[in-house]
Symmetry: C2
Subunit: 332 residues, 2 copies
DNA sequence: ATTTGTAATCGTAACGTTACGATTTCATCT
DNA sequence: AGATGAAATCGTAACGTTACGATTACAAAT
C-alpha cells in the first residue's frame, strides 16, 4: 500500500528526497531525514521489491538448485540442515532464498539456464556436481555469481564449498581396517557424482596403502534409499565371502544396512563393523555400535551463502575454495 | 540480455505487438506471431520477472514460513518431504518457492508482516499454528492469499491443510491399549502448538473411553530433539511406575526413546510398546517392533500449494479445509 | 468518391524505484 | 547591492513489462 509517492505527498517533499532520506543520503537535511523516517515507520513503508529490482538490477534473492529424487522416496536427510543453514544465513545477509527443486527427469543445465534468463536471482547455489560439470562454465561465461556445493574436475577456478569426501572415505576405511576388516564394502550414489568419485578415491587410497586389492563387487552404487541399501547389503551378506566392514554413504544407507543385518541376526560392531556419514546425529542414537563421521551441513549452508555473497559483492575477487572436514566419533 | 525492445527492433515491430504476440493475442496476425516467437526463441528471451511483477502485481513467487528450531539441533525431519512436495508442486504450477526460515527468537507475526509489505510474494504458507493464531486474522484482513499447515481455534473460515492429529493420537493410544498398555506416555511439542493440543485431545479421548485417568507425569513437552526425548523417557522409565506404552511425536522423538530403552536393556515391542508418527519411513527400517502412523508429507506439501494457488486465482472462492489422515502400519 | 468497418499495429502511460542533472534558497563575501 | 557558493530539494528519465486507446491500411459498401 504505502509507497514513496504517498510519503512524499504527505510531507510535501519530492519522491527523490524521500528515497534519499530513507537511505540516509548526505544530501538530505538531518531533520528531514527524521521526519521522513517517522512517517515511513508510521505507514509501514517497505520498499517494493520489484520496483527496486527493476531499477537496480539487484533482486536480493538467492536460488538454491537442489535435486530432490523424490517421487516415491525421501531425499538424503542432509538436505534439511543444509537448507536450514542456507535460509537462515541468507536472511541474515538480507537475501531471501528460493529453492528450485529438480527431479531426476530434469536437465540440470536447462534448470540453471532458466534461472539465468529470468534475471530473477542475484546468485545461484548449485549442488551435486558431476564430472566436467557444464554448469560451471556456463555460469562463469554468463557472469552469474554462483557457488558450488561440491567440486568438479574442470581446470578452471570457481568458488565452491565442499565436504572433504576423499579424506572422510579414507579415514572411514582406515578405521574399519583398525577393527580388523579387510573386506570392506562401500556405498556410493552414482558414478558420475563427483562426491561419490572422491569417496571411491579415498577408499582406494586406504586400500592401496594396506595392500588390499579392490573387489568391485563390494562397491554399491545407487544407494539413494533405505530400500536399495538394504537390498544391496543383504545380497552382499548372502555371498560366499561377505564383507566384515561397511562405509555408508549417509543416514539412509546406514538404516538400510542395519535392516539387512538385523534380519540375519548379525550385530553391528561385532559381526560387521560400520562407519557412516551422519549430518543429523541420527546414528548416535541408534542402539548399535557405529562409527560416525559428523559433517555439519548447517555450517556448510552458511558458508555457501557467505561465499556467494562475497561473489556478488566482488565478482572479480579471489574465488573461495573451502573444504569442510568431517569429525570422527568412534563407536562407543 | 534479451528483452522485448530488442526483439521489436529486430523485426521492426512495436514492443506492444511483440508482447501480445508472445501471449498469442488475437489481435496479432498469425504470421507475425510466428515470426516473433522464432526470434524470441533464437535470442533466448525470457520475460523479466521484475518488470512483469511491477506491472501486473503478480510475482509468481510463493513463500513458506517455516520454523527452524536449529541453533544446535536438527528440525523435525518431516520438513524435508514437506519442502520437497511444496517446491515441486509450486514449480509445476509456474511459481517459485521461497523459504523463509524463522528461529524461535523471531516473532511469527512480524515475520508475516514483513512478507506482506514488500509485496514480494503472491501467497504465503504458514505453519506451526498456535491457539488463536493472530496471523490468520492479519492475513485475512490484508487480503493476502495464504494457506495454513495446521489449524487454529479461531471462529473464522480460512484455508488450511492439516494432519488429523486428533485421530492419529486417538488411534495410536487405542493400538497401545490393544497391546495391554494402561500407562501410556505421550510426546508433545509445546502446549501452545495446536497440533500438540490435538494430539493431547485424541489421547484424552481414547483414555476416557477406556476409563483410564490421565497421569500428567506421562505427558512430555518440548520433544523437539532426540536428546530431550531420550532424557525425558529415561526419567520416566526410572520412575516407580514406568509406562508400558509410548506414542511418539515424530522420528526424532522415537529415536530418543529407543536410545533410552536400549541403555536399560529394555526391548521395544515387549517391555514397552511404541507407536510413532513417521513421514520418512525411517521407523520401518529400525531393528525394533514399532507401530507406525505414516503421514505423507510430500502429499501435504502438494496440497498446500494446490489450495494456495486456488486462493490466488479466486480469492473469494470457498475456503478449502483438508484433513489428511495417517496410515497405520502395525509392528510386524 | 466518400464512408464504414475490420484487421493489424502503434504510442503512451503506468507500476515503484533510483540516478543524474537542474534548480531553488539563503548565507556569505566582495 | 551584486556575485559566489554551498546546502537542500526537485524534476525527469529510465529499468521491462503490460493495458488501453489511438492510428493506420485496406477492402467493401454506399
Amino acid at each position: 500500500m504505502a509507497n514513496l509517492k504517498q510519503i512524499a505527498a504527505e510531507l510535501s517533499l519530492s519522491v527523490t528526497t524521500v528515497s534519499r532520506a530513507l537511505k540516509d543520503g548526505p544530501e538530505v537535511q538531518p531533520s528531514t531525514i527524521a521526519r521522513v523516517k517517522e512517517v515511513a515507520k508510521r505507514v509501514g513503508y517497505v520498499p517494493d521489491h520489484h520496483g527496486r529490482a527493476l531499477k537496480t538490477g539487484r533482486t536480493l534473492t538467492l536460488t538454491a538448485v537442489l535435486p530432490m529424487e523424490t517421487r516415491d522416496h525421501l531425499s538424503d536427510l542432509l538436505k534439511l540442515p543444509l537448507i536450514e543453514g542456507m535460509t537462515l544465513a541468507a536472511r541474515q545477509a538480507g537475501y531471501s532464498l528460493s529453492i528450485y527443486s529438480t527431479t531426476p527427469d530434469d536437465d540440470p543445465v536447462e534448470s540453471v539456464q532458466r534461472q539465468l534468463q529470468a534475471r530473477s536471482t542475484d546468485g545461484l547455489i548449485i549442488t551435486r556436481l558431476v564430472s566436467a560439470d557444464p554448469r560451471v562454465k556456463l555460469l562463469l561465461d554468463q557472469r552469474m555469481p554462483f557457488v558450488a556445493f561440491g567440486r568438479t574436475d574442470l581446470d578452471i577456478a570457481y568458488p565452491y564449498v565442499d565436504v572433504d569426501n576423499e579424506q572422510i572415505a579414507y579415514e572411514a576405511t582406515r578405521r574399519l581396517m583398525d577393527k580388523g576388516c579387510r573386506r570392506i564394502a562401500l556405498q556410493l550414489l552414482v558414478p558420475e557424482d563427483q562426491a561419490s568419485a572422491m569417496r571411491l578415491s579415498g577408499y582406494g587410497r586406504a586400500m592401496a596403502e594396506a595392500g588390499i586389492p579392490i573387489d568391485q563387487s563390494l562397491i554399491g552404487h545407487g544407494m539413494f534409499t533405505m530400500e536399495s541399501s538394504a537390498g544391496w547389503f543383504d545380497h552382499l551378506l548372502a555371498s560366499s565371502d561377505p564383507p566384515t566392514g561397511l562405509a555408508c554413504a549417509n543416514e539412509l544407507g546406514l538404516l538400510g544396512a542395519l535392516h539387512a543385518l538385523g534380519r540375519r541376526g548379525l550385530v553391528p560392531g561385532s559381526d560387521v563393523h560400520i562407519v557412516t556419514r551422519d549430518s543429523t546425529r541420527l546414528a548416535r542414537f541408534l542402539p548399535a555400535k557405529i562409527g560416525v563421521h559428523f559433517v555439519d551441513m548447517a555450517a556448510v549452508g552458511r558458508k555457501l551463502i557467505e561465499v556467494l555473497e562475497s561473489r556478488i559483492i566482488n565478482p572479480l575477487g579471489p574465488v573461495a575454495a573451502i573444504l569442510v572436514q568431517g569429525r570422527f566419533e568412534p563407536a562407543e
